[in-house]
Symmetry: C2
Subunit: 98 residues, 2 copies
């Protein structure tokens, strides 16, 4: 299993557009990627325009499949102009028993 | 539902002790907090001593119960001397359908 934890900063006024794109992306991932065990964007409390994303995949292959998925690429193209900086994404390996 | 996403920096050489404490804490949370839907520590790839934690709770009350839990307090006391800085914890509200 592998986890991805990320933080994204969205331009003021672009939050609604961003949330619409990632809501659709979450639907696509959940419908098409059975080994994506967790795929959730969430809005950080108290920090305007800051969102986190938490993802987990059953295997490295599942993560690679996600990274190559057309629905991800399409969403990233829509998201890029809405961001104030590159997303910060951390790949993490679970500690202890799962 | 509420998510917590955090990052912790562990002193060089203290990783094994840290992992043992959080492995036990994860067992305690999973055994005693049914509304803690996700509670996972993971080691960041490529960044020595950096760990992330991803947590989700079914309700605010479940998060408050977690924060007051004796097993959390006990673990934090063991972890504190192993860290190089205060943990950075972000509270986040999920976007879109769950």
């Amino acid at each position: 299993m592998v986890y991805l934890v990320g933080e994204l900063s969205v331009r003021a006024g672009a939050e609604a557009d961003f949330e619409a794109v990632v809501a659709e992306l979450m639907r696509e991932v959940r419908a098409n990627e059975p080994e994506a065990l967790l795929y959730q964007f969430a809005k950080a409390r108290g920090r305007d325009g800051v969102y986190c994303v938490v993802e987990s995949y059953a295997s490295e292959a599942a993560l690679e499949m996600h990274m190559a998925a057309p629905h991800l690429r399409a969403a990233m193209e829509k998201i890029a102009p809405l961001l104030t900086a590159r997303p910060q994404i951390e790949k993490c390996d679970p500690v202890g028993a799962l």
